[in-house]
């Protein structure tokens, strides 16, 4: 049965990829500087670089994850080592005047996958970063990869350039519920692989930042809350260095969008996110719990009752929480919370996830 599913996802992906556009191979998809929290809980600047590669191998091979359309931003034509080097150089230029910063390199796929980033390009980047470390400017580095590429070899290679500072690899663990990860999300990653990867990184004093998805397809709001809390706690338990929650946002061309457009999927409530963050943070007070707020509070992103004034308040609170790790900033009240509670109960009774406010009688 799963084969039909994969075949369907792949066809869907292929169809949508036809709309993908050519772009400048020498410019990263995006790059910016922002305030960020370091592992030692100090706050400073970070440089994010989203490299343009050919994109995620899993997405090509299997149709990819049900909520992800990052592949659309990747390049339809090959990206050479030279291109990648130029992208990096373009980005790193931005921090030349800063005294201290961290660097986060993403590819919307796996940085450690040679299919996306050839060895030569990777080594070029690490070399440059090593230099910055030596200059005392680089505080931390973070990259992103699926667990299958987190090998002894790759880690040895990294630690060849980056000697001492904190290195973290972001892994899209999404959830520790295997059924949700591999069916609802179609991640194609076993929990076993994740644990192996964590064990490997530990040997090289490399951290794992767990990306956890809040509210995948096919599960109810309540399950989404419980699953996220569960997964957050579990991530710390098995040794992840930090947890970053990603409330689902409806990407174009995804299965998630298909159901959302029929009002059969609703992005998470902000109340749910607040509940999750409070819960995981209070159980792991010395750890860093972060939450992405992009997409909040549009109708495609996490939101409470649309147009309710609490939406932006909570968004700001979440951002503040991520930086300060202060749980109290999340103490917000609004009378629309009653709706959230009722929605959850109604949805549990409906068994199947509900869409957004559903006034069929109007």
């Amino acid at each position: 049965m799963n084969n039909y599913f994969e075949f369907f996802l792949k066809k869907m992906r292929e169809k949508y990829l036809k709309k993908r556009k050519e772009s400048n191979p020498n410019k990263p998809i995006a790059t910016w500087i922002q305030d960020d929290i370091f592992l030692d809980k100090s706050v400073g600047k970070s440089l994010t670089i989203i490299l343009r590669t050919v994109g995620c191998r899993w997405a090509y091979q299997s149709g990819g994850c049900t909520m992800c359309s990052y592949l659309m931003e990747s390049s339809p034509s090959p990206i050479s080592t030279e291109n990648l080097k130029r992208q990096f150089d373009y980005a790193i230029e931005k921090v030349k005047d800063l005294d201290e910063f961290s660097v986060k390199i993403f590819t919307s796929g796996s940085f450690l996958d040679e299919f996306e980033v050839p060895e030569e390009a990777r080594e070029y980047i690490f070399e440059k970063l090593g230099e910055l470390e030596e200059e005392g400017k680089l505080k931390e580095i973070a990259i992103e990869s699926r667990p299958e590429f987190i090998t002894e070899e790759n880690l040895k290679n990294i630690r060849g350039y980056i000697k001492n500072i904190n290195v973290e690899i972001g892994v899209g663990i999404e959830t520790f519920n295997e059924e949700i990860r591999n069916i609802a999300i179609h991640k194609g990653v076993k929990t076993e692989d994740i644990i192996n990867a964590i064990n490997t990184t530990k040997k090289y004093n490399v951290g794992i930042k767990a990306y956890l998805l809040i509210k995948p397809l096919f599960i109810t709001e309540k399950d989404a809350i419980l699953d996220a809390i569960n997964s957050g706690n579990r991530a710390f338990e098995i040794g992840c260095s930090r947890v970053s929650f990603c409330p689902a946002t409806v990407h174009k061309g995804t299965l998630m969008e298909y159901f959302w457009s029929k009002n059969q999927y609703r992005p998470p409530f902000l109340w749910s996110i607040v509940e999750i963050l409070k819960n995981v943070k209070s159980k792991n007070q010395d750890r860093i719990v972060m939450c992405d707020t992009s997409g909040i509070p549009t109708k495609r992103g996490a939101h409470n009752k649309l147009n309710c004034e609490c939406n932006y308040k909570i968004k700001n609170a979440i951002e503040k929480f991520t930086l300060t790790q202060d749980i109290d900033v999340l103490d917000i009240e609004c009378k629309c919370k009653k709706y959230w509670e009722s929605f959850i109960e109604m949805e549990e009774r409906n068994i199947v996830p509900l869409g957004d406010v559903n006034l069929s009688f109007e």
């Binding site: 049965m1 369907f8 949700i180 599960i219 109810t220 999927y265 068994i351 199947v352």
Partner: protein
């Protein structure tokens, strides 16, 4: 878990503790994920660990493409505790792919994604489930709004919940029986009010089933909702779930020709055979049976004084055509506006034509006499008939006299000599065919009128009673001898129930049931059989198909037992 108490398309059942359904069900529903997580965390204010229905973690949305339907568990079965009873349940979650529905054996069927099923007008899935499952099993349709409940109960749902009361209160909506009203009342007031409305609608559903007027309640609650109305119109209920005659006035204000009571009448009356080829068409009366009305007393008097025996045929909406023989089984109240809808006109003419065809087939020549008010003639599509209501008023002295004289003349000219008493017996024979599908009343039956109408036959030189007439619903009540006669004449064509033990007066329970005629309707008079012999007679408490699927509870009320 349920034992049916009464049917009116929908059903009232009794739980073990005496609670009557349709009603709210007090079970917890949550997913496996929740259960597991709740055991670890107890932080959400609204979640409490308890037993209940467990749902799969991953659920199938309505518009799931067929290709990916395979990743979902479409037949989720489990065990739960309900009121100290261990029950099995099945969660029905097939999205729009109703063909994927696979009914397992369970006590409780829970319809997932009811909100979407209603919105997408796929309610007929309820009927599909109800057809297949035991009458002792319940169907639970979660998350409904008050005005959806009557139709769902009409389709066979037993259980509801009142979560919508809270959900819509949280959105600022106040329930009425027919709509949601935006309100400024605070949440708690709205929530209390909305819950009360649900309780009231459920009470009304149970009341209406018992009173035989659930259809009216369904009409009331679907008429302002095109979705529900479409679902209602597309629903062809199992006519065995209403009795052949309700014994109560039914109310018919819309859909005259399509309601189950009329369909059932048509189905049963189609075997009616005329007694003679002289037919007098008469208007209906508000009082029922027609012959007890003032107007019909005049008509009957005019006919009788002509000494002519005629077919008295009442033209009426919604039944179309009611021969005098069957007048006892129809009892209805309709809005009187003097107007006919096209549907009614078409229906009346069609049934009349069929009837006349039948008369012609039997007798060749036919004389049709219209003794009808003017507005009937406008709609009547008849070629050749005598109009005796000359001034448009069948009750005028002139018209009545004209009717009498016309009949006298026909009698003389045609030299017809029919016996009024024979017609009476003929009419009862037709009624027997209406009720049982077959006749069992012999031509030489003896009819006694007091203290109640009884029918006797000569057996071994003794008069034995075969049945009596229930004046309330116009139907026969069998004696043991009547049952024997029926069985003798028609065998398994009759409405029989076969048992596997020596019955006693009282109830036949499911374990004692062996087989039955599937055509049995609720309340039908039935013959009880054991080893090919009549052992008793009784009244069916549910239809034949339901009996076959029943696991426990009473199926038949046994009235007479062969000693």
């Amino acid at each position: 878990m349920l034992e049916p108490v009464s049917y009116d398309i929908g059903r009232v059942c009794k739980e073990k503790d005496g609670t009557l359904t349709p009603n709210l069900i007090d079970v917890k529903i949550r997913s496996y994920t929740s259960k597991k997580s709740e055991e670890i965390f107890l932080l959400l204010p609204f979640s409490k660990v308890s037993d209940g229905i467990l749902t799969p973690t991953i659920k199938m949305p309505f518009d799931t493409p067929r290709e990916i339907a395979g990743i979902f568990n479409k037949s989720h079965v489990g065990n739960a505790k309900y009121k100290d009873e261990e029950i099995t349940y099945q969660i029905i979650n097939v999205g729009k792919h109703i063909d994927l529905l696979k009914i397992e054996d369970a006590d409780l069927y829970i319809i997932a994604d009811g909100r979407r099923i209603i919105e997408r007008k796929e309610l007929l899935i309820i009927q599909k489930i109800r057809e297949k499952i035991s009458p002792n099993s319940g169907i639970y349709f979660p998350g409904t709004i008050p005005y959806e409940m009557p139709l769902l109960a009409y389709m066979g749902v037993d259980y509801f919940d009142n979560i919508s009361a809270k959900y819509y209160a949280s959105l600022g909506y106040k329930f009425t029986k027919n709509r949601l009203i935006k309100s400024n009342d605070d949440f708690e007031m709205l929530y209390m009010h909305n819950k009360k409305v649900i309780d009231e609608v459920l009470e009304e559903i149970r009341y209406c089933i018992k009173e035989g007027c659930l259809r009216n309640l369904v009409e009331e609650t679907t008429i302002s909702n095109p979705y529900l109305r479409a679902n209602y119109r597309r629903y062809n209920p199992d006519l065995r779930n209403i009795p052949s005659s309700k014994g109560k006035k039914i109310i018919v204000c819309i859909d005259e020709t399509r309601i189950p009571e009329v369909k059932k009448y048509i189905e049963r009356a189609k075997n009616y055979e005329p007694f003679t080829n002289v037919v007098v068409l008469l208007p209906c009366s508000s009082k029922k049976p027609y012959s007890t009305s003032k107007s019909h007393k005049f008509f009957i008097n005019a006919i009788n004084s002509s000494k002519m025996v005629v077919e008295e045929i009442i033209l009426t909406s919604p039944y179309g055509l009611v021969p005098r023989a069957l007048e006892g089984v129809v009892n209805y109240d309709i809005p009187v506006t003097g107007e006919w809808s096209n549907e009614e006109v078409e229906f009346i003419n069609e049934t009349l034509k069929n009837y006349i065809k039948k008369v012609k087939e039997k007798f060749g020549d036919t004389i049709i006499i219209s003794h009808l008010p003017e507005h009937y003639l406008e709609i009547l599509d008849l070629d050749d008939y005598i109009n005796t209501a000359v001034d448009g008023n069948p009750l005028s002295d002139e018209s009545l006299n004209n009717l009498k004289e016309t009949l006298k003349k026909i009698k003389e000219e045609q030299n017809i000599n029919l016996n009024k008493k024979q017609q009476k017996i003929h009419n009862y024979q037709q009624l027997a065919k209406f009720q049982f599908g077959v006749n069992f009343i012999p031509d030489d039956v003896v009819i006694k009128d007091r203290p109640n109408k009884r029918f006797l036959i000569n057996k071994n030189n003794k008069l034995v009673q075969i049945c009596s007439l229930n004046e309330n619903n116009g139907l026969f009540v069998l004696t043991l001898q009547g049952g024997e006669l029926l069985w003798e004449l028609n065998g398994k064509d009759v409405l029989y129930v076969e048992v596997n033990y020596d019955i006693r007066k009282g109830s036949l329970f499911a374990p004692g049931f062996k087989d039955c005629n599937e055509n049995i309707s609720v309340n039908d008079e039935i013959v009880l059989i054991k080893d090919d012999e009549v052992v008793g007679v009784g009244r069916a408490l549910m239809n034949g198909l339901e009996m076959k699927k029943a696991k426990h509870g009473a199926l038949v009320n046994i009235r007479h037992v062969k000693s």
